[in-house]
């Protein structure tokens, strides 16, 4: 399984219009393949939408996309209206024990943590991650842990749903106090860290 993250930066104020157009067109798109999630940015770079498409492999992606584009109702057409400033597509693989959550309600707030790893250290980092992630999930669910296969390399992202910032603070405090999180030795492999707070679109399978 691969996950394509498509990140579009929109013109300021365009998000409501784009969600409306995307939501309407997605009704026609989803018979070819379904979204894993669709978010807008609440904190971080603003006016961004992130849509996540799962595929069995790159060939499956090709097939689905070439079929979908023949549909007169797809793509949604907001790019032609000049509402998109920048587009980025990245392909991720799932980290060990970090499968994407099944559709459902977990949020409403999602934290996306984005780590740039030191070159060549991803295998070692994934090993440490695998050894600690099950314990961390006892404190709160993980939406997914993924690493890049195509696009910006050495990138590891993990996404966590929370009820609120206070819930997040409480979970993190407990996890740290347990002495099992963050996993020992992991920070040595991390070069840069950033995070964003995401809000699900009305039609996102993850809410």
């Amino acid at each position: 399984m691969i996950y394509e993250f498509r990140t579009y930066t929109l013109t300021p104020g365009a998000t409501p219009k784009v969600l409306e157009m995307f939501g309407a067109a997605y009704e026609h798109r989803k018979k070819y393949s379904e979204l894993a999630a669709f978010w807008t940015t609440e904190f971080g770079p603003l006016n961004q939408i992130i849509h996540v498409w799962p595929y069995e492999n790159m060939q499956h992606r090709e097939e689905v996309r070439s079929e979908a584009v023949k549909d007169p109702n797809w793509p949604p057409g907001f790019a032609q209206l000049g509402l998109v400033v920048d587009q980025k597509a990245e392909i991720f693989q799932v980290a060990p024990n970090s499968a994407f959550l099944e559709p459902g309600t977990y949020g409403p707030m999602y934290e996306l943590r984005d780590y740039a790893m030191k070159v060549g250290t991803m295998p070692k980092f994934l090993e440490i991650w695998e050894s600690a992630i099950e314990t961390r999930k006892e404190f709160s669910p993980l939406a997914a842990g993924l690493y890049t296969e195509l696009g910006t390399l050495q990138k590891f992202i993990h996404i966590w749903p929370y009820q609120s910032l206070e819930h997040r603070a409480e979970v993190r405090e407990k996890a740290i106090a347990s002495g099992t999180w963050p996993p020992k030795g992991a920070s040595e492999y991390v070069e840069r860290q950033a995070n964003m707070i995401l809000t699900p679109a009305p039609f996102s399978p993850l809410q």
Partner: protein, 207 residues
């Protein structure tokens, strides 16, 4: 009055140690001049500290800094300990009707909104902002709004304290419902927007 924003990127995990070192050093530094605020990033680029130093002028800044460096107790030694990966210094001026908040407790959550404005449009933006900001501050207080004078230009930042995210959501819903905020004509001048959540350090005058 000018405001120097010094933004340091730290090595992953270094924030607690840096706050301690800086807090100790600041006891000696503050007799030369005091901070306006000191934050670290909670959401956005992580492992970042932002210290804000007000000065009467660039000459005043030079004098204070020349004096402070002579103090053996100042210079927290962060860079020497290898805790800093990157440093940035920028000079900002306050926008009309947007003075920096006096020391006090307003947060604990601070939203830092960072806009890049289309080149040449800052005077127009400041005019719109200055005429309308009272509409917005009727709903919740503003820490300050500032524009860049030295550093990346065409930058407009505004900082808002909230009790929590729910409080922010409520305030933003009310302001949107008023139909008067954001002020008309502002959106057209904006090129890019991003937003971070900051937490105040224990020794920050703004809490």
């Amino acid at each position: 009055m000018i405001y120097e924003f010094r933004t340091y990127n730290l090595t992953p995990g270094a924030v607690p140690q840096v706050l301690e070192l800086f807090g100790d050093g600041y006891e000696y530094r503050k007799k030369h001049s005091e901070l306006a605020a000191f934050w670290f990033t909670e959401v956005g680029p992580l492992n970042q500290i932002i210290h804000v130093w007000p000065y009467k002028s660039m000459e005043h800044r030079a004098e204070v800094r020349a004096e402070a460096t002579k103090d053996p107790k100042w210079n927290p030694g962060l860079a020497r300990l290898g805790l800093v990966t990157d440093e940035r210094s920028e000079i900002f001026k306050t926008a009309p009707n947007s003075p920096f908040a006096e020391p006090g407790s307003y947060g604990p959550l601070y939203e830092f909104r960072d806009y890049t404005i289309k080149a040449g449009t800052m005077p127009k933006l400041l005019e719109i902002w200055g005429d309308n900001v009272h509409i917005r501050t009727a709903f919740s207080p503003l820490t300050s709004a500032l524009y860049s004078d030295v550093g990346p230009l065409n930058r407009f930042i505004h900082i808002w304290p909230y009790e929590n995210l729910a409080h922010r959501t409520e305030v933003r819903k009310l302001t949107a419902a008023s139909g008067k905020w954001p002020p008309k004509g502002e959106r057209e001048l904006i090129e890019r927007q991003s937003s971070m959540i900051l937490s105040a350090a224990p020794f920050s005058p703004l809490q």
